[in-house]
């Protein structure tokens, strides 16, 4: 304490607008107008698109009409494919969440309300572009038509699980679908995506990389390392931040959202930053397409902030009513991504309520059938597992003496104990 005649300093600790029991009112939220934001040329310099980081690209208006220069003008079959992938993702989440509650596995995480951020992006990328997801991008695999039976086998850690029961549920790895092994450690995938993109560029390839992380995860050092490398080497990479407002119990203010946008993180690094309505599948598609074209034409990386809302709990271990107002989800001003795209395709005359209801039924049945199929290979606790030997495999390419010894010891001890 000095003797200077100054007011005492005070520490600012962020506080979210609404807590449990609070009445939610998003009146202060200034709804960006659909179609109002310009679409810069794909070779624009990062300096010339700084305003984009504070705006919000929206295509679908309140009536479900596509507006403005970002309308990707998708063919009807693409629109319906996106709609179906989102519906399938939601049905998958519903059923596998319930499977965890029924004791069939240890853990699950839904992406409800955020389906567009994965599904829309997956459709705008090429299949051979490499994805570095976080744990909430099941929509990528579903959009890439990866068999959901295989996903459920992983969730059950059963004997058909390609990952040999080693990973927690939903921590998929699907090399065939160009989907990187998911880590439980936040944001490690970010610099890895940049490195993959640098390698692709160094080898004169045409493929690009894309990474996803949550807004809370942008605080990790890996996020900032990734942006620095991406900027320095103009890596052909798309860096997606899924701003679903919450990181377990911490609102986005604890990742810096009180002061700026997540898209604006790009500005300090000299990267192009876009902010999009993450509940608008067409905006997500269009932004991803812009960033992909840019990367593929050697104009470097793009950071995309997807503004969305985590409509459910963080995971099966979480109870969001303990820290946020239950009203928030229902009053979220940007609506629901499936409902919004549905309205759009109905407006176009290529879809109707009956077909939508039939689709919902069809995807629910599909998931149910896949689950039944997967359960033939076992669920987590029923003993239909990988062999005990498999536990020692893949630590190294070749098993060193000490692991061979430990593996043998395990068998000897079990035999001696009569099990």
């Amino acid at each position: 304490m000095t003797g200077r005649n100054l007011p005492p300093l005070s520490l600012h600790v962020p506080e979210p607008a609404f807590r449990p029991g609070d009445t939610v009112d998003f009146a202060d939220f200034e709804m960006p107008v659909a179609g109002a934001v310009r679409r810069p040329p794909i070779d624009a310099s990062p300096r010339d698109v700084r305003d984009m980081a504070y705006a919000m690209v929206r295509v679908l208006d309140d009536e479900g009409r596509a507006q403005g220069p970002w309308d990707p003008r998708l063919a009807p079959e693409t629109l319906l494919k996106i709609l179906r992938s989102m519906a399938l993702t939601r049905a998958f989440d519903e059923r596998l969440y319930r499977a965890q509650r029924q004791g069939k596995t240890s853990f699950y995480m839904k992406c409800t309300g955020e389906e567009a951020t994965s599904v829309g992006a997956a459709h705008a990328l090429d299949y051979d572009d490499m994805c570095f997801p976080s744990y909430r991008q099941q929509g990528l695999l579903i959009a890439r038509d990866w068999p959901i039976v295989d996903m459920i086998n992983q969730i059950y850690s059963n004997r058909a699980d390609r990952l040999k029961g080693r990973q927690m549920p939903i921590m998929y790895s699907v090399r065939q679908a160009n989907f990187f092994s998911i880590s439980g450690n936040l944001t490690t995938q970010y610099p890895q995506a940049v490195g993959w993109a640098m390698a692709s560029a160094a080898r004169g390839d045409t493929r690009i990389a894309a990474a996803w992380c949550g807004e809370g995860s942008t605080a990790e050092g890996d996020f900032h390392s990734a942006l620095t490398f991406a900027a320095v080497y103009r890596a052909p990479v798309i860096l997606n931040v899924i701003n679903n407002q919450w990181a377990i119990s911490s609102f986005s203010g604890f990742a810096g959202a009180e002061a700026t946008t997540f898209a604006a993180r790009a500005i300090g690094y000299g990267i192009a930053g876009l902010r999009v309505d993450g509940n608008d599948a067409l905006a997500v598609y269009a932004a991803t397409q812009w960033a992909a074209d840019r990367a593929r034409n050697n104009h470097g990386p793009t950071l995309i902030e997807h503004f969305t809302y985590r409509a459910e709990g963080h995971s099966t271990s979480d109870d969001p009513s303990k820290y946020r107002s239950a009203e928030e989800g229902g009053k979220w001003p940007l609506g629901d991504p499936i409902a919004r795209l549905k309205k759009h395709v109905i407006g176009l005359g290529i879809w109707d309520e009956e077909r939508h209801a039939a689709m919902d039924l069809e995807v629910a049945e599909l998931v149910k059938a896949a689950q039944k199929e997967a359960e033939k290979n076992g669920i987590l606790q029923d003993g239909l597992k990988q062999s005990f030997d498999s536990m020692f495999e893949d630590v190294f390419e070749e098993m060193p003496w000490h692991l061979k010894e430990q593996s043998a010891q395990m068998h000897d001890e079990r035999k001696a104990a009569g099990i």
Binding site: R166, N185, L380, L403, M410, R414, A417
Partner: protein
């Protein structure tokens, strides 16, 4: 003044320790992911923000490196931070701040600056947490000069050790065995969990007391073999000793660094045999250090090679968790080996 005792589980005891320490010293602050309003994902800091305010108990950005880095800075100012790392598996981004900074500050500034921080972090497996919610990385920290490493095994010790750690002027890593937060674990995963309330160690004084760092506890006296354990494994070892009827002396180390070498040596000299138990992987684990120390100090008293019972040298698997965990089967077999000749 310790006042009345109450029945507490580990979480409640830890919460009470922080509460009591904060009530006595306004320089103590708590920070970490989800520790504020929510009270932590395991509820260890529940109610503390309400009681002590947001400038003393606050949520942080998800940056473990930042959490420990600012804790060192706050300590430099003169506060006594008690940061939480949500799971020990997520402590690695903070390694540079812990290893190169907190651990060496006193040494490199010849005592001008110190880092009296207590890093609390849940560790260990047995909860189907897979490789990122199950690890036991204590050996990484015991290897670093300048860090103290403390691991309680019951509510009474958890509170006393945590207060002692917070009041200690050196950086302490306080590993909390999450498998036994709600009740001790005998290693039989197919049996229902017994709540702490059924055990004497759940009687925890409401007020201030300490369990000194660097002092082990002899949980059970015995004559034929010394078992060195800490955290969850104390309970697994205890139940196997009872099941097998071995006349073992069970030592709960409680602090790994600085180690209570006297208690260890005295016991091994008495029994002539030693078994070391931990859940962490074997190679370069803390068991290797214990085994070397026992050999250095008790060579002429040893009647059999020191046995190590540890997790296998693989990442922690999800579905084969119970084949990985050094449970009753493995301990029983190890007892047979150590009691041979």
């Amino acid at each position: 003044m310790t006042g009345e005792s109450r029945t507490m589980n580990m979480i409640q005891a830890i919460n009470s320790a922080i509460d009591v320490a904060m009530g006595r010293d306004e320089k103590i602050v708590v920070l970490g992911e989800d520790v504020g309003y929510f009270g932590g994902v395991f509820k260890a800091t529940e109610g503390l923000q309400k009681k002590y305010g947001k400038t003393r108990v606050f949520d942080t950005p998800i940056s473990e490196c930042g959490i420990i880095g600012v804790a060192v800075g706050m300590a430099t100012y003169g506060l006594r931070p008690v940061p939480e790392i949500q799971f020990a598996d997520y402590i690695y981004p903070a390694l540079d701040q812990l290893v190169s900074e907190a651990a060496r500050l006193r040494y490199r500034s010849a005592g001008e600056y110190t880092a009296p921080i207590t890093v609390r972090t849940p560790f260990g497996g047995g909860i189907f947490g897979g490789q990122t919610h199950s690890q036991s990385p204590e050996g990484i920290f015991t290897h670093v000069a300048g860090l103290k490493t403390v691991i309680p095994s019951n509510p009474y010790d958890a509170k006393g050790l945590l207060i002692a750690a917070i009041e200690d002027n050196d950086p302490v890593i306080f590993f909390e065995p999450k498998r036994i937060y709600n009740g001790p674990f005998d290693g039989h995963y197919d049996r229902p969990v017994q709540p702490w309330s059924k055990f004497a160690e759940s009687a925890v004084p409401d007020g201030h007391y300490t369990v000194p760092l660097g002092k082990a506890r002899v949980v059970r006296e015995g004559n034929d073999v010394t078992v060195l354990a800490y955290g969850t494994m104390v309970h697994v070892a205890h139940s196997v000793i009872q099941e097998t009827g071995v006349d073992a002396e069970l030592v709960d180390l409680r602090t790994l660094v600085p180690l209570d070498i006297e208690t260890v040596v005295e016991s091994v000299k008495k029994t002539g045999r030693c078994m070391v138990v931990h859940e962490a992987t074997k190679t370069s684990g803390f068991g290797a250090e214990l085994s070397a120390l026992v050999q250095e100090h008790c060579f002429h008293w040893l009647e059999a090679p020191v046995q190590r019972v540890t997790g296998w040298d693989t990442p922690y698997p999800h579905s084969l968790e119970w084949a990985y965990f050094p449970g009753p089967v493995r301990l029983t077999e190890a007892f047979k080996r150590v009691m041979q000749d």
